[in-house]
Symmetry: D2
């Protein structure tokens, strides 16, 4: 199966290249009756808009989204929601020299091999980070759907260029208001210096993004393969530039002992959350905690060694306008993918209501009654 569809009940299929007519998608499976407008999508899209912030390029794309179907009189109708974002301000000439060579660290080589030498090389074509706009637009619908159920997803940068936000300062709530969508105020001047140094060195930076989902009910996720953490790892690792994903304590958990890593259950809830809100692949009702490692931008402003289509040595200087770090623009993308994953899992779990309450074991355990109320 071609790889441009995401989700099972709430299904997003996307299209579009960096320098074609535009990008967009079809979101199928959204329940009827959800209030939705283009402004709802635009709000999230504006968060990943280029041309903002200290790590950004000078491109000015307005990324204006248009809804083409599935909404009537201000509400979703249950039919497919198509949306389109026209490409603007394309300067394809910047990329003409890329037809013959492969940019190191980019998808050029893979697409060339996969599609038998055929590719739209302008700005990376389909492999451009620009495709993530469609994810964000659809993620906005998922976000609204989750909000109806009291679920909220937040994301923030917690590390940039090797400089991490101290754990005790982490504040995801206020991130969207900060430069870099940073998880603390204190780190911003340090990151400013780091970015300035990288820019001076004609280099680029990577970082780490944290995502948190609050209000997720217990019971989401489908063992044994479609565990909730497996689906989230798939969702986040599928975003370009992500090279690692952690749930809860992640790699640090590998160094814990069992007695330190287990989260005791108490009458008022779990006593800790090393697991990151997912036990045995099923949401526990605690906050879901994720981290994604983001590699440095591959398009560095230097001449690099490479080969051409004939396999001969060549050099390449990547023109165009490129960000210095995927942070902050990747932050709303990772939040969107988390929203899409959780909304899909939520809609899928609803099927469990298929047996009448009266058929389930009686009396109902108190723990379960709490969840249902």
């Amino acid at each position: 199966m071609a790889g441009n569809t995401f989700g099972r009940i709430l299904r997003l299929t996307t299209y579009g290249e960096s320098h074609g007519a535009g990008i967009g998608g079809i979101l199928d499976g959204c329940p009827a009756g959800l209030p939705l407008s283009e402004a709802d999508m635009q709000r999230d899209l504006d968060l990943r808009k280029p041309g903002q912030g200290r790590t950004a390029t000078a491109r000015k794309e307005s990324d204006t989204v248009r809804i083409l179907s599935g909404v009537f009189e201000g509400r979703t109708t249950g039919t497919p929601i198509a949306f389109h974002i026209a490409n603007e301000d394309q300067r394809s000439r910047d990329y003409g020299n890329l037809a013959q060579v492969f940019r190191p660290g980019h998808a050029d080589w893979g697409f060339f091999q996969k599609f038998h030498g055929i590719r739209d090389y302008r700005g990376g074509g389909r492999s451009s980070g620009r495709e993530t706009a469609a994810r964000v637009a659809a993620g906005a619908v998922a976000r609204l759907l989750l909000a109806v159920h009291g679920i909220h997803v937040q994301a923030a940068a917690v590390e940039l260029g090797g400089i991490a936000v101290p754990p005790e300062e982490r504040d995801l709530n206020g991130a969207l208001a900060r430069p870099y969508f940073a998880a603390s105020d204190s780190v911003v001047p340090l990151w400013d210096q780091r970015v300035a140094a990288a820019r001076a060195a004609a280099d680029t930076l990577g970082g780490i993004v944290a995502v948190r989902a609050c209000g997720v009910p217990a019971g989401l996720g489908e063992p044994v393969f479609d565990k909730l953490d497996a689906l989230l790892a798939y969702a986040l690792m599928g975003v370009g530039a992500v090279k690692g994903v952690e749930v809860g304590d992640g790699f640090a958990a590998a160094r814990h002992t069992g007695s330190g890593n287990n989260d005791p259950l108490t009458e008022t809830g779990f006593a800790s959350n090393h697991a990151g809100g997912i036990l045995g692949g099923i949401s526990s009702g605690q906050d879901i905690l994720l981290q994604a490692a983001v590699k440095p931008i591959a398009s560095i402003p230097r001449t690099q060694q490479t080969i051409d289509r004939e396999g001969r040595p060549a050099s390449v200087l990547v023109g165009g306008r490129h960000d210095l770090a995927a942070i902050p623009r990747i932050v709303p993308v990772l939040a969107a993918m988390t929203c899409l994953t959780l909304a899909d899992a939520l809609l899928l779990q609803e099927r469990m209501q298929a047996l009448p309450e009266s058929m389930l074991p009686q009396p109902r355990p108190a723990a379960l009654q709490r969840r249902r109320s």
Copy 2:
């Protein structure tokens, strides 16, 4: 969709609980003509057999697999390959006390919530690590299929209880012959001490497993969502106890600069492999490199704080026979999931042959001719 099916072209569906009749699965989509016997599956199954090694329990399950369909006169026929592994040596009475309480760090709570209070609590039921035997049995078929195409997958433990194999000593080749399936000889006595200390402290350990796939052709993986690294992250994170997944340099890549992280292309191949063999979600032809963080075993031999089905405080002492670490038994499981993912991606990529060579751009680039030859 229920979550017990893995893969798109090569599809594995599994079943079974820890203390039911047995576990098994159906592997659908395997090409006709592959030589296959029960011994091929058994060889891999024996690698995850309990009762071996210093971190193991004393259980003695023979885990004997029987093929029920899809093989005729020693070859696969292209029809579904069903296999069954009967459960033996079950001591369900060890688990009787678990009907009323939730073990910390286990899936008990999630299953209870997900399935409305109904669960097979004996040995964890479906959430038992025992389900991974079906993955390993099916993974053996994928391994044979990959071998036909010159692809080989290896896995090894590279860290246990916080003690890592030094990078320069890593040797995945010989791991299956070493205790712990360790990536070096030198680390074995250190791990022995670490394990002894944990056992004395009535505690358990976690670790890190590395997986490498050699011989993978360029072109596997389906952007934008079904990137090869996304599928691998899904595959590994879906194994119980895994809390983090890295591709290539993983979280370390977040601290690199672009100039240090890019892998230059040269006439004779890539000059480095920070990317771990995947660029833009598509295999590059280099070795694929993965790491998985494995949390410590949740069943510690101590009384722990928890709640019962009614939500009241309770304590639990997990009986039964439990490993002290998921390592080494998780090593062949992670290798199997990697095999299944790669074989599926390989079979899916074959569809690209659908246009005759004569329809593709001429003359063929030299780089591509190399790949095809």
Copy 3:
């Protein structure tokens, strides 16, 4: 994707060949809490058991089903339900001569071409009608699930060897108690004569099966491609020997005028049911009415013209023990496929509950309130 999985939420994957170890399947996605035993499956299986009735062979297979997972203390647990039916009374020697030639009207040629000359020729292998036992076993679970929601599926033979049950005599209710699972008593002696004549002529017969589903709520089916009638056509046409499927008036509707074919809506329901309970691909709340054309059994007791593996002319006399008509044994198979399709559609529709009632338009139209009550 390999073709041995059926359904989206309630997913059945089957395996097995006519002369292998047995046949069976995994039913995934069944809600937790449904009372289920092997006897429930066996009851339906016994309806398609060979060796009964005037069109049957002399084979005596007990077709005893064993549940291997997914049921605990008499209820489904929400995990995969695996079941196995061991093959018995196999006389493979009857089929030895079929290794070299292709039986006319059978799947031999197709399997040979599809799987590159590799096939289990014994009794048709995977293409044997025997695979339908797995469908019936799983269909029994779907039937129980539907019953919980007040949905009941009935099927009966309405035509055999060209002799049809008069429309006004059709009674699907009592069919299981009649020979041939016939839709009327009056037709039985006529069919007896037709069968005797065919047997004397060393020939076989076809017929037509009607299926009716009562109690189906309005709203099932997913336009535009997964219309309920499209899914049912897929389900029934996928049963071996079925060559045509009709919904409601079917081909007769092609000869109606619009004024005669439309079903008027009245205060107390629809005034007619030409549509067969499905409008625009969505169930209307009326009875769902289907018909399937069943071709005559291809294994006729005569020497037939064919070719061998080398493409040379050959003759074949199909030995083994074969029914004279697929009726009556195909009747419970078609009912089972209808049950599986409807249960899957029902579970999928549940996802639409994902918005709270309070978010939907107020006040609720009376028509809709009726449905919900």
Copy 4:
């Protein structure tokens, strides 16, 4: 899963309502390198354009398609092909009165029930026949892909208003040049009279469409559920107005005897084609023959009895401009669905190439060598 995606390897997802911004779709999984232009899609779209022929309405929609992605320098790139057809000449006021009542024979009631009282009632919204334009646009790509492999699909009307083309006169080749896309010239004046009479009677007509696919290689289709005939039945029955589907002799086969229905294999091919080119769910290499029953148009120009949203009796006179029969416009739609199904099955079958020729049984049977050459 939402129902607006069709296919497994070649996947079409569509969107759009009758009176929204437009309709369109995303075709994912098309191999790279196929020459494709908007003109290729437009040619097929023009065949279903309204405003032509004796059964047509007076609407004038230009149905101009625009390709938004997936094509670069005149060839497909292997990435998703998105296309959009803007709606024009909408006279929504014609439909204002339909907000409160349900048109008999239409999907109004089903959508109302399915989506909780929410629907875009203008012109049927998503249930409008207009959605089939997206199928035809995508079908054009499938048709080109099939042509590369020597496969050609033809369709024609073989019955209208109860008047059938005599079997011996059937000529699908020339159908596109005839009025009604009729399968013979002789029937045209008879149909003209039948249409005139229906129009005078303020009524509408149904008919039967035949589809033939030539050049299909043996081996397509995936038993046991995804048989090729099952997939085709799903594809055709999923087109609005289709109430029955036949393969080969269809319902007539139910009246054959086995000796008359079996197609003997001979050295030069099959001696007959009762099976319609599919045996055991797998293509045999013969022509694939299908028939679809098309019900009369539900929008008759008369006042009809119905109910309103509150369930009260009401009458409705359907305004707007409606065809008198789905023929001829449904003919290219059914051809398109057949193309999409066959192209998908063809691409899926390619996966079976995954074992090298050298691993398959040697020497190769002559029958198979023929196929491969």
